[in-house]
């Protein structure tokens, strides 16, 4: 049995060589160990880098791990080599993406109902960017296409999984919102209400 220290060290080297996110499954197979153990080792390794505040950090994306730079050094990297920045998404693209991310799987009709405006073009654009994809068909009338986010979405936004999406209120509770006072922006609205009254 290979020692834990050796395996962790090996994982570290593997991450270095691989560059891209390394699937925990692949790493586990190499040592013929179970997935959970391999995952825990990666997590430990990640914690070590984080505690020491190294310039290189390990990030988790969709059950894979990858070396990345420490966000605090962004400025220095930019001074060094002006990296090409990907074009940011437009407001409408972000809105559609948000709806898909939080409500997936979701049909175009549902997205349009929330936004009150057509979004064919936006969906097309997001699909082209591989941020979203078709994940199936709804059983409803006309069997409309269901959309969901892709691993590219997780990668580009730096989420380890969909559970990591920033917390907005439980979306399904919108219907009985009268009792619930939503936080954030909506809370502000309430306070304005008081000022008015």
């Amino acid at each position: 049995m290979t020692s834990k220290k050796t395996i962790k060290s090996a994982f570290e080297s593997m991450l270095f060589v691989w560059g891209e996110p390394l699937d925990v499954k692949v790493a586990a197979e190499i040592f013929n160990m179970n997935w959970k153990d391999a995952y825990d080792y990666f997590k430990e390794l990640q914690a070590e880098y984080e505690q020491e505040g190294r310039g290189i950090q390990i990030r988790e994306i969709d059950k894979s791990f990858q070396f990345c730079t420490n966000i605090e050094n962004a400025e220095y990297i930019e001074r060094l080599c002006t990296p090409v920045k990907e074009k940011r998404l437009s407001q409408s693209a972000l809105e559609v993406l948000a709806i898909i991310a939080y409500k997936q799987p979701v049909t175009k009709g549902e997205i349009e109902a929330i936004r009150g405006i057509k979004c064919d073009r936006v969906i097309e654009g997001l699909t082209k960017k591989e941020l979203i994809g078709e994940v199936g068909r709804s059983s409803g009338i006309g069997r409309p296409i269901l959309y969901g986010t892709t691993p590219v979405f997780l990668k580009n936004f730096g989420f380890k999984d969909l559970k990591e999406l920033p917390d907005i209120d439980d979306i399904s509770s919108v219907v009985d919102m009268e009792e619930e006072v939503p936080d954030g922006l909506d809370l502000q609205q309430i306070s304005i209400d008081f000022i008015q009254g």
Binding site: C68, T69, R88, A98, R115, F157, V174
Partner: protein, 260 residues
Amino acid sequence: MSYKIKLDIFEGPFDLLVYLIENAKMSIYDIQVSKITSQYIAYIEKMQALDVSVATEFMVLASALIEIKSKMLLPRIKPEGDEVIEEDPRMELVQRLLEYKRFKSAAELLELQEERNQQIFVKPKEDLAPYTREADEYLNLDLNQFVKVFHLFLGKKKKMEEIKKNYAKVERQKITIESRIEYIKNLFRFKDKKRLNFRELLNPESNRYEVVLTFVSMLEMIRQKSADVRQNVNFGEITISLNDKNSTKQEISEERGIVS
């Protein structure tokens, strides 16, 4: 062609409505429908005045607002005086607005996350070929050796070219139609017959190419009217007789025919 200008302020009718409500410092739960409706319609009119085509979705919401406004005017107590307060006609709109706002703020959060993530850099995957077994072989030569080998290669190439100069291309001579016609005519003279069967034009060892060639030559002779060909039944024997009147046509074969 008209110009398309995208105003990135309002992404849709809800976006506009939310803006108007917030701008008027109104509670989303207590929208002053009359005020907001007139503001909303004023905005659409302004867009039209500026010749910005207004999406139908904006109109749909405008009509919905007007509908709500008219419902608000109706008494909400049933005529019998039962004091039954019906559902607030604004309810549905409020719910939709809230849901929209929720995703709007989610979009803002995503934007922040995207911005943050752009400050983290990763290495693109490199070419792993050198680490795999199928790696390309890397030459371990110094420059002198390399130059030597290259000279050797050049010398070899030169030699080959010299040898190749002496090569001659040999191609199988294909018989032409013209020479075959000549041959057929000679055959008539040689056998001293008026008529010949098609079979008699061929050798017993004629291959398919020769059969076809002879047949095509025969057709050519018909076209030139230098031969008269008959076949009494389908798949029957073909008999050919020379048409001596057209001996002038012979010049064609004399011009080009002497190949074989």
